[in-house]
Symmetry: C2
Subunit: 398 residues, 2 copies
């Protein structure tokens, strides 16, 4: 039994963490890996439960075939790790503070010494070459300090194991969805001509963190995005103190978050009478969404959703030129996507029950934009289930 100094409030059962570890070990075996180094904070949390805003310094989780994972990070963050991971306290190790942002030492030099101490100096080690927070320098430092080890690019190896959600995870996403709905309800109530954008964002964040029905809200991996009018052409602008204006559409890209699980949900609010081209785009987009939801069923492929969406849009003369969705679940900044499947014509991944996506066919044209989206669950039978339950249309406030 693992030894713990502190009482823990782990989000999931022991069985759930063992399920994840078993999946990961099988994937490691297929890739011929003896050790896997996880540096993506979402993967670290999924495997161990670790939760803290410490990913701005180098840290990681080591996964082995024959021993519990090791959490490794800055000394001061071991205090957070022993309070949040399911492993025993002896599986939490820290590096000295003089490695932090040093120009003469690198934390990966400490990690390599740990690996040598564990007898892995000649191991085949998987690293997440293209995940967040594994810098080019971290890789170079690790390779230089372990010259006899073999490093293998195992980007997204764990992300792929996260694709099919357990019942425990889906329950969290349902809680997140209630928060997403609450945020959108608040928007419909509060967005009016003359109200400054930041005032509305202040209420979004308050609603998001207060949560719903006693389920407290966590921070989402992306801040609210809400460009208006011509700026709605740009999908990733945040906010300022300008007022909402009559005659403008604003899309709101938000997500409730419950214990790091997300259900993004986007709606567009038009203040006044929408122009015909926007009404026509809305009609085509909703038709495309509904066709996509029908296609989003177990046994179909990711591209089937994208192709179903594209047909009515094309008929309306709209070419999107971007993927229309991605898997969702547990995430840390800067992204609430899982970075595996992309809903686009070239992705032939087979959809399976328990997969969850943000079906996100945002329209970002030269000088206007429109977002109406759904977070969805692939079910055993039939079309996808939408996590949120709100009208699938542009919201018009005249």
């Amino acid at each position: 039994m693992p030894q713990h100094r502190f009482q823990k409030a782990l989000p999931f059962t022991e069985a759930e963490y063992q399920r994840r570890l078993a999946l990961t070990r099988k994937a490691m075996e297929r890739a011929g890996l003896e050790v896997m180094l996880l540096t993506d904070p979402s993967n670290m949390a999924w495997i161990t439960g670790y939760d803290g805003w410490s990913f701005y310094v180098h840290q990681g989780v080591l996964v082995f075939h024959d021993a519990d994972p090791i959490w490794w990070g800055r000394n001061q963050d071991t205090n957070g790790a022993v309070r949040t991971v399911w492993m025993g306290d002896d599986r939490v190790i820290g590096y000295a503070d003089h490695y932090v942002q040093s120009t003469i030492r690198h934390p990966m030099q400490d990690l390599s010494q740990r690996l040598i101490g564990l007898g892995h100096e000649r191991a085949r080690i998987g690293v997440e070459m293209d995940n967040y927070y594994f810098s080019a320098k971290a890789h170079v430092a690790l390779v230089e300090s372990l010259p006899e080890a073999v490093f293998v690019d195992a980007t997204a190896l764990v992300n792929w194991q996260r694709g099919i959600k357990s019942a425990e995870e889906i329950a969290f996403m349902r809680k997140a969805a209630r928060i997403s709905e609450k945020i959108v309800d608040g928007l419909i109530e509060r967005v009016e001509p003359g109200v400054p954008k930041n005032e509305v964002v202040a209420e979004i964040q308050r609603d998001a963190i207060r949560g719903v029905d006693g389920d407290w809200g966590d921070y989402a991996a992306i801040v609210p995005l809400l460009p208006s009018g011509s700026d709605a052409a740009a999908p990733h602008l945040t906010w300022n103190g300008d007022p909402f204006r009559k005659g403008e559409a604003t899309f709101f890209e938000i997500s409730g978050c419950y214990r790091r699980y997300h259900t993004p949900f986007c709606r567009t609010i038009f203040l006044g009478e929408p122009p015909d081209f926007l009404r026509a785009a809305e009609t085509a987009l909703v038709e495309g969404l509904e066709a996509g939801l029908e296609a989003a069923r177990a046994g179909n492929r990711a591209c089937d959703i994208a192709n179903a969406l594209a047909a009515p849009l094309e008929r309306a003369g709209i070419e999107r030129g971007a993927r229309c969705g991605y898997p969702i679940g547990l995430s840390y900044p800067p992204d609430w996507g899982e970075r595996t499947i992309s809903l686009r014509s070239e992705d032939e991944t087979i959809l399976q029950p328990g997969m969850t996506f943000h079906f996100m066919p945002g329209l970002w044209m030269a000088d206007w934009g429109l977002e109406i989206t759904e977070s969805i669950l692939i079910t055993e039978n039939g079309a996808a289930e939408c996590f949120c339950d709100r009208p699938r249309s542009m919201i018009v406030k005249t």
Copy 2:
């Protein structure tokens, strides 16, 4: 004159951006660089004005000696770039969406083609090897697609140019400081036994984004951190729905943010009568802070602040074992530090007027913690100026 399709609301004057560009080009010259690729979103924004939550995909800014910088990123984000950068629209270029999170293509292959088109296939190119969002894979892909170029590790080259703030930047930080004060005032009012933590965080975020005196609040690069009691040993835990409890200390690590500029400010609230050891730690910490502020003057070294702080703490038997501060200013998640100077005994950087730091001597012991900090400005003469003006002590609510 640069050509712009859209009206811009740039945060700074043209002179300020030219100052930054000139500093960067001089640093590039010293490092023998013909081209510098910036991938840290803070550096990208500092040089160009670019502001958007798009750093979850590969993007960058190219700096040249003889031409305006180029913003490069995902096609859909060029819409945000032409609306936020000072350069002409022709200095904004995008890559096709099928590069995004692809397993068969990498966005850096697109960038390398652009560099070849500009005649830089044999250039000495600086890259930020250990800054955020430049992944190990990005580096490998770039090196492989430009076999004749010479890549030089220019980590923090631009971060170092950001160290001394202009009057325009300091004015932004003063606005951020008013927001920090407002947040702390709200905490003192609202934190009571039995109040759930997430309810208090909801109000922090609301205060932060509403801003002060018509200056709208931006999102901080780190979410509020507020562990209580034994958990306050861990510097980077976020929040949950547990209530604040009588007999416990909670530290609050927060920052106001005005147009991406930060002034972090931490205070500790004790509910009830603090134990003697905590009172003794507070006394030593405040003495150390005040000694550090006296040492934080132009001409002294970074380590002088750390050493001044350490003396009274050592007399009280407290060994911190971590740096006690870092430069602050413009930042994007995941960090509001600039990652250049560290306030610690081995850092002999000379302090200069206009430098700004978060003087952050957090105490994170085995099962308690205490944070009382100041964001400071190094002045022409005399001790450092504190951006915020609130009592420098533990806040006790009996």
